[in-house]
Subunit: 426 residues, 2 copies
């Protein structure tokens, strides 16, 4: 088969006819397939079933130190739980604050605190400044962008490269503009491309020159242990790199078990320097008496140690890998020959990023919706929902069963082709 770009008009018209026919056939099936969010599947949720009932009575709820997890207290979470994640992430337990069920919540709160109080190094609260800007490597995670939009923080897109954000641009912008106060990073298996930052990228982040004294890196290591198999990417430990340096206050490091145990009923984490921690403590003390310790203890008893989590994540990988493979297989079979699209082949995380032909992502999304396939909205992976080339789509293979998934990707491929052909021909 010829690439679309090499086809004559007549060939394209004939191709369009057959693609349209297939599209109409699919549409008539009234599918209802959801590939919109990075949700674990039923199979994955079943992997931690016994977490539900691992604590059965009051005695089970006592910690090593005799703390009754059923009662008030422990502002930063259980010592055992902080140690478990310290072990896993190689971050000192003393620099870890455990929160509730959502690292997104901890990120929002961290930015909101900076707005209301400033951070160590700030002259004043960010809400008292005329302009606050964040660098946003794009495509990126829509919910990061949503936090900025909600809080009135201006977003400056920075291109993603195969080794992470374009660090030349990051360094130039951060060193020039004092109103640039932060950057969002998903450093391992980035959302949506599945890119892991190279060692050089991490090192450049750790030594970033910034005009703003209160610049912060929001390091959302959401997929730290989410490899598809034993051949996963390795990310340099930025906390260790920065800890003890003059730049250590610049890092807010986030993590959660949402995609390890249960999304919405896991444990979220914020790691930060001593000075950041002291400043944060003063504020959190006004906000809460402490997080859900019973649920933290469940996680400690279930996973025991870092190895327990790593072993467990192998099981997740075994469920996810065939799904990623299926998506990639269909893309390769159906889209590669046309030459109109590109995609990533991540070794972990929750997403595959699909770039269709310029100017056709929204239309592909619309066509897929009409055929009953729900995707993350086109444009959502860019600040303000504006994909400058209108080409990026985020595919989330985790949730649907394998058969549904292959079908959904087939629908998307047909839609991508039809969108291209319509644009070229009509």
């Amino acid at each position: 088969m010829k690439k679309y770009s090499e086809m004559t008009k007549k060939e394209l018209l004939s191709e369009r006819e057959s693609v349209l026919k297939e599209y109409e056939r699919l549409k008539a099936q009234n599918y209802n397939l959801d590939m919109s969010r990075g949700k674990p599947s039923m199979d994955q949720l079943g992997l931690t079933e016994s977490l539900l009932h691992i604590l059965t009575n009051g005695a089970d709820c006592k910690t090593e130190d005799g703390i009754d997890c059923r009662n008030y207290g422990q502002l930063f979470g259980l010592k055992e739980a902080r140690e478990l994640f310290s072990d896993l992430l190689e971050i000192p337990a003393d620099n870890i604050i455990l929160g509730g069920n959502s690292s997104l919540n901890m990120m929002y709160d961290t930015v909101a605190r900076a707005m209301l109080y400033g951070v160590p190094g700030s002259d004043k609260p960010w809400c008292k400044l005329d302009h606050v800007k964040f660098l946003c490597p794009s495509p990126g995670y829509d919910r990061h962008f949503h936090i900025c939009e909600s809080l009135g923080i201006e977003m400056i897109p920075v291109d993603m490269t195969p080794t992470g954000p374009d660090m030349d641009a990051v360094e130039r912008l951060a060193s020039e503009d004092e109103s640039i106060k932060g950057i969002w990073c998903v450093p391992k298996y980035s959302n949506p491309q599945g890119i892991t930052y190279s060692d050089e990228t991490v090192r450049r982040f750790a030594a970033l020159k910034c005009k703003a004294k209160d610049f912060r890196i929001f390091w959302d290591n959401a997929y730290a242990v989410h490899d598809l198999d034993d051949n996963g990417d390795i990310l340099l430990n930025i906390f260790a790199l920065m800890h003890g340096t003059e730049y250590e206050d610049r890092l807010y490091y986030f993590f959660s078990t949402s995609k390890i145990s249960f999304p919405g009923s896991g444990v979220a984490l914020l790691a930060l320097s001593d000075r950041n921690l002291e400043a944060t403590k003063k504020i959190i003390e006004a906000q809460t008496i402490g997080p859900d310790k019973i649920n933290q203890l469940r996680h400690v008893k279930y996973f025991t140690n870092a190895e327990g989590i790593i072993d467990h994540m192998r099981l997740h990988g075994m469920v996810l890998k065939p799904k990623f493979d299926a998506v990639l297989h269909t893309l390769k079979t159906e889209l590669a020959p046309t030459g109109i699209a590109e995609w990533t082949e991540p070794k972990g995380g929750y997403f595959i990023s699909l770039d269709v032909a310029d100017g056709t992502a929204k239309e592909t999304y619309r066509l897929a919706s009409e055929a009953g396939v729900k995707m993350t909205k086109a444009g959502a992976t860019f600040p303000y929902g504006k994909d400058p080339r209108d080409r990026n789509l985020r595919l989330a293979p985790s949730f649907p069963p394998l058969e549904e998934l292959s079908l959904a990707i087939h629908v998307i491929c047909v839609c991508a082709k039809l969108a291209y052909l319509n644009k070229t021909l009509l």
Copy 2:
């Protein structure tokens, strides 16, 4: 025995000698008794033991509507759980947002949102105003005051009366000063006095005239169902009174199961008007994907309905009543004859408020600390920790076992007497 005020100097000196002797004897025992916070006791925590393991597998985690509580979603919490609390509090389920484990957290976040975004009726975010003030019925809950202090909100104390806050003062201040944006209320079994607002007080709140268009009542109904026995106080339903009136946006209503199931692992609630809910939703959407639904479902399965909660609270009352009785008995036996102190006799809640002689609360606290009895810090029940008459102490009878409790109260009585005698004589 004579009242202290009727004693001659010689009699007082002799009384001081015997009180001091008893104090020294107590101090020598090296006690370690904690009456500082309103924490449920081990006996109370044991009442909901089976809540821990009421969900044991994936099928248990499905809701009536087929929602899998183990996965993401449901921004405002589970429908069933909202209905359970709707039933209990007689507030429409559609006006209820369920949060995480802490109503304090929801209160802080609600004030922080007002600071960052304003509320319906605001011209601008409160953080953009030169002055934001809250009325603070005093004595009151230290953590409410801490929220104001943390966020730079000026606190204006208002006296508490046996029927609730001094409403003449509340009405005058709220109607005069546009920078007064809110008031903290614990309307049933107020913290620390255990006062329940009278019907008239609630009605006056529901129809309050305010200068600020964006005034808000922070109605922390923490002890809504926390009666010591079947003879509990009855609080008028302010939500029902205000719902559908021109003032309905003025109410933020909070509640939690912290002292029903497990403190720190319960479910928190915010009830609010449609317009407040819409405005809040837009912001919460940026903050989280949703609260811990598994824990909400545990509560639904365990309590089933409002009656289940009410029945359960009878058991809590049966554990708490003897403790309240013991405190009151000791105060009556040891302090009443001296005439130097007054206290409340609440029918529920978690506290007894003790007013010792003017100018002796801090000293009583200090003496008790030195004798190994930890109380809530003197002054903590007032804004900025400043009790103008230095007389109020908050007693929290719930946590210590009965024998320890009686002993601790005896120590406090001895300290109150000694503080008075020292002040009068030295």
